[in-house]
C-alpha cells in the first residue's frame, strides 16, 4: 500500500486531500514518516531511519508505525493497490 500521490503535505504537519476536501494534522514525526512514504521508502527503511534519529527501540516504533499506517488507511490516504 502506498501513500496516495495526490495528497498534499507540508513540513509543518498539515495534510490535505484535494479529492475529498479533508484536512489533517500530524506531529513532526508523523510528517517525517509521510515524507518517507511519499519517497516510496519501505516500512523496514522507515524503521531504520527513525530508530537511528530518535530515542526509540525498533520494536516499539514498529508497533507505533503499524498503528499510524492503520490510521492512514482509516482516513483513506493509502492506495489499496
Amino acid at each position: 500500500m502506498r501513500f496516495k500521490r495526490n495528497i498534499a503535505t507540508s513540513e509543518a504537519g498539515f495534510i490535505f486531500n484535494p479529492a475529498s476536501g479533508d484536512s489533517f494534522s500530524s506531529n513532526p514525526i508523523g510528517s517525517e514518516i509521510l515524507t518517507q512514504l511519499k519517497e516510496d521508502k519501505s516500512r523496514q527503511e522507515i524503521i531504520e531511519v527513525i530508530a537511528s534519529r530518535y530515542d526509540v527501540e525498533k520494536n516499539q516504533f514498529e508497533r507505533d508505525l503499524e498503528d499510524f499506517m492503520s490510521q492512514l488507511r482509516d482516513y483513506n490516504l493509502l492506495d489499496e493497490n
Binding site: 484536512s23 489533517f24 508523523g30 530518535y54 498503528d67 499510524f68 490510521q71
Partner: protein
C-alpha cells in the same frame, strides 16, 4: 549524535464548522509531584497502582468547613462519616481536628471505638443495628439515630430489659423538592410518621430524645433543598417544645455535600458547577437562624460531611499497560487499575493528569482498566498526551468511597500511602497478598486431597 526525543506518530482529522464556545483545549497539566513528593518515586517505592492521601489537604478542608459554618452559626459540630473513608489513619486525622464519628454499622462502630473516640461522641446511624450493638451503644452513651419503628420498639424493649436510658434521635425523611426522594431511611415528615415516632419516644420513660436527624441525598447540587430540610426539622423541634415541653439539643443535617468531581453526563465540569460549602452553610444556617428561635434556644448543628472533606485529598497513581486501536479507529489505553480499585469511576468523569511531560500533541482515548470485563471503563473519552506503555497517570479526587467500596476482584487491592504535613510518606494500608485473601477460606477435609492429574 544525541538522538531526538521520541513521540508516537499521530494524524488527526481537522473538523471545521464545529466551533467550541469554551475556546481551545487547555494544555494537559502534568503532575510530576504530589505535595513535593515525586510520583515516579512513590510508584518505585510502593508499586502501582497506589492510592495517595494528603494529610495537609484533609486538614485544610476540615478547617475551612468548620470556619465557614462557625462564622455563620454559634454551635457547630462535625462528625466524620466513616463510610466515606474509614482507614484508621484518615479517621484519626479528623478526630484530631475535633470531629466526632458517624457510623452506620457495628463494624464501623467498633472501628470508631478502636480509634479512641469516646462513646458519647459516636453517632450510630443506619437501618442495621443488632440488639447487641444497640445495648452496647446505649451503655456507651452514644447517640443512636433510630431508622424505623422495628428498631424503635427493639430499643424500647432492650432499654426496659437492661435498665438503660439511651440518648436517641430519629432520622426524618421529607420532600425537599429534589429527585430521588430518599424516603427509604427514617420516618416521613409529611405523612406524620416522624411525629408519631417522636410521640412514642417521648412517652417512653427509658428513651431520651435529644436530636433530630436528616440526610436528604448524596452529591447534592441544590443548596435550597437543605434550607427546606432545615425548616422542616426546626418545625418538628418547635412542636416538640410546645406540645411536650421537651428541649431538643441538636439538629443533625447529615451529609451529601458534593466534591468538585464531575458527574458523568454533566455539560460543565464540577469545578465550575458544584456549589461551594459556603453556599450550603448559608442555606442551612440561614434557615435555622431565620426560623425565630431565641439565641439560647438555638440547637447544636451537627454535620456529617464526608465526600466534600476528603475527595480532593486522595489521588490514585497508575501505569499504562498498553495502547490499542479499536475497530472504529478510536484510541484506547489499558491501565493497571480498573473499576475494582476506582469504584467511583462508575459515576465520575475524573480529572486525570499525565505524570510525565508528553509533548504538545494530544489525542482522544478511551481508558480501560485491566479487568477481563467489558464494564471495566475508567473514562469513555478523555484527551491526553501520547502515552506509552509504562507511563504514569494521576487520577484526582478519589479520596471518598473508593477505599471503602473497592472490590477484591481477580487481583489484589493496592497500597495506600499518607503524605504527612512535612511531605513524608507513610504506608497506611498494605497491599493485599494471596495469603491475606485466603486466610479467611477453609477447605472441607474431603477436598483437601490433591486433585488427580
Amino acid at each position: 549524535m544525541e538522538k531526538l526525543k521520541y513521540e508516537r506518530p499521530i494524524i488527526k482529522k481537522l473538523n471545521t464548522g464545529f466551533s467550541n464556545k469554551f475556546g481551545s483545549q487547555l494544555k494537559n497539566e502534568v503532575v510530576t509531584h504530589l505535595e513535593g513528593v515525586g510520583v515516579k518515586e512513590l510508584i518505585r517505592q510502593y508499586g502501582s497502582p497506589l492510592f495517595v492521601i494528603s494529610e495537609k489537604q484533609i486538614r485544610r478542608n476540615y478547617q475551612h468547613a468548620v470556619r465557614v459554618f462557625k462564622t455563620r452559626y454559634p454551635k457547630i459540630q462535625f462528625a466524620w462519616s466513616y463510610k466515606t473513608n474509614y482507614l484508621n489513619a484518615v479517621c484519626k486525622i479528623f478526630h484530631q481536628e475535633g470531629s466526632w464519628a458517624e457510623v452506620v454499622s457495628g463494624f464501623e462502630y467498633e472501628k470508631a471505638l478502636g480509634n479512641g473516640v469516646p462513646g458519647n461522641k459516636i453517632i450510630f446511624n443506619g437501618p442495621d443495628k443488632t440488639d447487641e450493638q444497640l445495648v452496647k451503644a446505649a451503655r456507651n452513651n452514644s447517640l443512636i439515630h433510630i431508622d424505623h419503628f422495628d428498631e424503635l420498639y427493639s430499643l424500647i424493649k432492650l432499654s426496659e430489659e437492661f435498665q438503660l436510658k439511651p440518648r436517641v434521635a430519629i432520622r426524618v425523611n421529607m420532600d425537599t423538592g429534589i429527585y430521588p426522594k430518599w424516603d427509604r431511611f427514617g420516618f416521613n415528615y409529611e405523612n406524620g410518621q416522624a411525629w408519631n415516632a417522636i410521640t412514642r419516644i417521648i412517652n417512653c420513660e427509658n428513651l431520651n430524645l435529644v436530636g433530630l436527624h436528616c440526610h436528604i441525598g448524596t452529591f447534592m447540587l441544590e443548596t435550597g433543598a437543605y434550607a427546606i430540610a432545615a425548616v422542616k426539622l426546626c418545625d418538628l423541634l418547635r412542636n416538640i417544645k410546645e406540645k411536650h415541653n421537651k428541649t431538643i439539643q441538636y439538629l443533625d443535617m447529615g451529609g451529601g455535600f458534593p466534591s468538585s468531581n464531575t458527574l458523568k453526563g454533566s455539560y460543565l465540569p464540577g469545578v465550575d458547577t458544584v456549589p461551594t460549602i459556603d453556599q450550603f452553610a448559608d442555606a442551612i444556617t440561614g434557615a435555622i437562624l431565620d426560623f425565630g428561635f431565641r439565641q439560647d434556644e438555638l440547637p447544636l448543628l451537627i454535620l456529617e460531611t464526608g465526600r466534600a472533606l476528603i475527595d480532593d485529598a486522595g489521588f490514585l497513581l497508575g501505569t499504562v499497560l498498553a495502547n490499542k486501536r479499536l475497530s472504529d479507529g478510536r484510541r484506547s489505553t489499558i491501565l493497571d487499575f480498573g473499576v475494582n480499585t476506582l469504584f467511583t469511576s462508575f459515576w465520575y468523569d475524573f480529572k486525570i493528569s499525565p505524570a510525565q511531560d508528553g509533548g504538545q500533541y494530544t489525542e482522544e482515548t478511551v481508558l480501560y482498566g485491566p479487568l477481563c470485563m467489558n464494564i471495566d471503563i475508567i473514562s469513555e473519552n478523555i484527551t491526553l498526551p501520547l502515552l506509552q506503555k509504562g507511563d504514569h497517570l494521576v487520577v484526582h479526587r478519589v479520596g471518598a468511597y473508593n477505599m471503602t467500596q473497592w472490590m477484591q476482584f481477580i487481583t489484589l487491592r493496592p497500597n495506600v500511602v499518607l503524605l504527612d504535613q512535612e511531605g513524608h510518606s507513610h504506608l497506611i494500608r498494605k497491599a493485599e497478598t494471596l495469603d491475606y485473601i485466603e486466610s479467611a477460606e477453609q477447605i472441607p477435609a474431603y477436598l483437601k486431597k490433591d486433585t488427580p492429574s
